[in-house]
Amino acid sequence: MSDPVSALNGASFQGFASIREIGPIGMITLRAKGLKSLDKAIKSVTGTKTPAQRRIEVNGDRACGWMSPDEYLLILPYAGVADALAKLAKSLSGEHHLAVDVSDARAVFRIEGDKAADVLRKLFPVDFEVLEPGEMRRSRAAQVPAALWKQDQGFTLVCFRSVATYVMGLLTHSAQPGSEI
């Protein structure tokens, strides 16, 4: 078997901010609500607490984001997904939940630099001046759904894999040198 290949195989662009496609990254959609063992199950996979509404809890290369009142996005190294799914199955066994591997269904981008927010302000109907650190915002990047959050002097953006080329095109267009806002 070959190594897993991310959607754009690590494409990058240097404009007034830097754009990088990263990955592959392990991702699990966990749907559950109000379960006794939920906090423990999440902690066992990401080492974080269960995020509050619209928050993302980051722990090194692992994180847990709040996607909706009954959905979490668990982020972890790609190779660890099968183990993580097994752990979740064990800790949530007998309780109504759905945990599914979505690592390959996503593309992930990093947008970095002093003016990284300016790239995103051109694409998202989101008020970046009030977006808090650790806040996960699901919205749209121009015409496609995307989620993003501030992390380490930049932003992490997650979208569907099939539109990775489109999103890279958007980010490249928006980060063109000279188009600083």
Binding site: Q53, R54, M67, S68, P69, E71, P125, R137, R138, S139, R140, P145
Partner: protein, 111 residues
Amino acid sequence: MLILECPYCGVKADETELSPGYEAHLKRFGPGASPEEFEAYMFARKNPKGVHFERWRHSYGCGKWFLAARCTATLEVFGTYSSQVSEPPADIIAKIQARRPGWQPDGKVTK
């Protein structure tokens, strides 16, 4: 371009982040329903000029359906609320009545 606050994730969502779902609080009629009941469920829509209850989905956000009470004439939004109720909750009705004195939900007679 409306703004509606999603009651599930608290985002004041731009209309372009939402999908419309038309009239709220329809009662489903399945097998055994009379033609009149089925017609009411399938086709009879209120389309009022004034207070109206609608379904919206936060489709570019948390994916949840929610309900909105809104004036179709002025576009004032009285409130948004959970889709998991069969009629507008009391606090929404109170908000509407505060702005539209004398307004009553369907089926209730004005005193």
